[in-house]
Symmetry: C3
Subunit: 348 residues, 3 copies
């Protein structure tokens, strides 16, 4: 598949610097690109790679002042432009026609929209609802009474437990588990008694859940993932958590029970948030940070326990200052000794 550079420029709203009769046939990173590829300069850091790229053309921001041995598609926002260009190149996936694969098991009381595609070896239990245009690729489980909103896409081997509600246009990646029991026990003597986890999970619209991530159902009431939330692979969201709209969690983040994450919050990879705390809207939690208490709005915290990032940087600088401080104190000690001797001497 060859696409004229002019067509891409038009699609992404770019000005072409260079030969506008060129064609490109693939996407590649600056260093991997070969003739015929379109590439992309996301960060000034990669300027050197742009200088020697074999790409036929690159997309770059208006503020980039480097040079490249190829055509440049100049745009206001290279991230967005690249996203749009990528869509043009996206390879056709397998066709997934409407209907239920005969190897799947669908309870007679389940309601699967006729436009939905239920691939092989899926299980849809009693009373479950699968909306218009949904795709369940293969090996997916949808528990009794759960509902999946229209145009949602479940990759292979997803498990949705009973009585879970999933909004429209969800994307659930392979191995994701929605509605597992919360981790709740009551201690009797030395033994743990299980507290029934009788609540559920509600996913809003446009939610994406990563591969092998787990979203626990509420002890009672609901675990809530609001509209537009994006959750990466291997993330844990515990029972009764509420995640506000458009928040994003990188891989391996863990949120403990009953915590409230605000809207538009971003959590870096492997960060953790304790139970029963609140994280304010638009805050950012650094990678591997451990949040142990409430966090206000619009703040960047890092470290363990997490503190405002600037404080954390200062604390780390402090640690580095100790040896010099120690040395200085030793010097002062000697000077004082000398002064004490002098004082003795002056008295004698």
């Amino acid at each position: 598949m060859k696409i004229a550079l002019k067509d891409i420029a038009e699609k992404i709203g770019a000005a072409i610097e260079g030969d506008d009769a060129l064609e490109v046939s693939g996407l590649a990173s600056l260093s991997e690109a070969k003739e015929g590829d379109l590439s992309f300069l996301s960060r000034a850091k990669y300027s050197k790679e742009a200088e020697v790229t074999k790409a036929t053309a690159i997309i770059a921001g208006g503020d980039w002042d480097g040079s490249a041995p190829c055509a440049v598609l100049r745009v206001a926002d290279p991230d967005k432009a690249f996203m749009m260009a990528a869509q043009a190149f996206a390879p056709e996936g397998p066709v997934r026609p409407a209907g239920v694969d005969p190897s799947s098991t669908v309870d007679p009381s389940a309601r699967v929209d006729p436009s939905a595609h239920i691939g092989p070896l899926c299980v849809i239990e009693a009373g479950a609802v699968v909306g218009k245009g949904c795709v369940l690729v293969a090996g997916c489980f949808v528990g009794a009474g759960s509902s999946i909103g229209e145009d949602s896409f479940l990759h292979a081997n997803v498990s949705v437990r009973e009585r879970v509600t999933i909004g429209a246009r969800a994307i659930l990646h392979c191995g994701a588990v929605i509605g597992s029991d919360g981790f709740g026990y009551y201690k009797e003597g030395e033994k743990w008694s299980k507290i029934p986890q009788i609540g559920t999970v509600e996913l809003g619209d446009d939610v994406e859940i990563g591969a092998n991530a787990a979203i626990d159902r509420a002890r009672f009431g609901r675990t809530v993932i609001e509209d537009g939330v994006k959750i990466d692979n291997l993330v844990q969201v515990a029972h009764n958590v509420c995640v506000g709209a458009n928040s994003a969690m990188a891989a391996q983040v863990g949120i403990a029970g009953s915590t409230v994450i605000g809207r538009n919050v971003q959590l870096g990879g492997q960060a953790g948030v304790s139970g029963h705390v609140k994280v304010g809207d638009h805050s950012v939690i650094g990678a591997q940070a451990g949040v142990t208490k409430d966090i206000p709005e619009k703040i960047f915290v890092s470290g363990f326990p997490a503190v405002p990032h600037r404080e954390n940087m200062k604390m780390q600088a402090n640690m580095l200052r100790v040896p010099k401080l120690k040395q200085k104190v030793a010097e002062l000690e000697k000077k004082i000794e000398a002064l004490e001797k002098d004082m003795e001497g002056s008295r004698e």
Copy 2:
């Protein structure tokens, strides 16, 4: 479903403060509750929410001295009382009758108790044993020669590898993997040669394993999870680990190979324990802590490397003291300079 408050009070051993003719029809948190709900005050921290709750009744401990605009079910232990109340409200799950779904594949040499429910699309290999009253919901794999004790419950898409032993009343959540190979290699030059992981895993009775958790089989011998151990989602237990009875691990904990976790140990979320160490009975390991050496009994450790929590708190306080210390040293320096000058002066 409406339940008389009197009946709940009787069931959980509570004294009713307020109108004992009331009925409740659901459970909800203090802030989410609406008329007709029963709620629950687990921590004094939520007192303010209790004051304005819309719930019809709340369960509270004898020592809580706040007030609520509704009936109060006063109990000695609100956690336990709530657990008992929740059981009354637990919605009926799907009926899972005895028998093997025809879409499942059961080896003729496997022994599945006639009272067990094998749901759709399960695989039970040669020589495996599934005990009385077990439920395998759907898509579960039980490898050759493994055995699952009576009344165990395997949620969808659980994988139990070969020759694994699981006790009675186990609960394995979606995507859990029991008996994966330990991570063991021998280095020859630059390449890794795999050390066969020929051991197995033994889970005691009343063990619960979270969604997408992984328990590795032993290199040889056994990885052991003793009776009553509760393991949350996405936890990693490596080969040859032994976890003592009634210990509990929050989500995303990782235990490296050959480590021995005592009885009644608690590990906070994302904590890690190095290989070949021993953690004493009744100890508590804080969230995100990294245990690198043996830990005695009945101690609370935190941080990386994990030290007694009090020491860790002191170290963090020390870091905060450095700037003041630095300032003081600068002051002393000036004073000493002044003294030195004075001394010069007094000599002249």
Copy 3:
């Protein structure tokens, strides 16, 4: 199964110290071994356990100078010797004959080598290729256009997404996901727009991927796992990462997008590496470390942010020195006060 000690000694190239007419019938750790078992001293740390082991024989290195109440198989390299002995004891797994189980769904356009074993309830989509001698145990998904090299082994419930390339002799453990979408979005106002992840994943030869691990496909181009890489359970490898040959990652490691891990790198459990950084060949990253910038070759880093391990140790020592420093400064303060008074006095 009994094996003559002489035969094992010959197999592993050991000199027997003790009765060479003995037979052994199993493998066990020093402390768990009973009569008839062969055991293994991997670390001098276990010398005391060797002294009282019930084993019939142990494998030990030439440099071990302890004693054991049983025969000793003396070898140059006990790790390697044990690996070879373990192979002799490995129990026979279930026979997995060539052919496709009738409960599996294989697209007519897929090419499955006749020597491959496709167990029950697998799905192989259009155009996929499964090589000579491969085993797919059960419940595995191989997406459209993906290919799996010869003699690869997929345990139960593995998901391989579309257009992924897997080399020869791969071992993919239960629940592993290869080719999930990278976590890439473009922000429009408060909402996230998905950047199509149109790239793929390439696994070299002899790669092992742990249970419930996730390897994301590239945004465009390829996520690359080179030959001989070993990845433990629950590891996250993000889009466009390249992992060099023979590198090894312990459980729960996370590598963020576009990062380049060199060859023969080792990452300890729960370590994390930020996006867009390079880790040099033969470097070692400590458990729970957080790498935030480029790391040179052949270095051992630890802590967060990760620094050379020696520096990290110093920083931790520094924190412990602060209280003493504080005390010393207080003492100096007093001495200076005294000197100042003396000086006053000497002037009067």
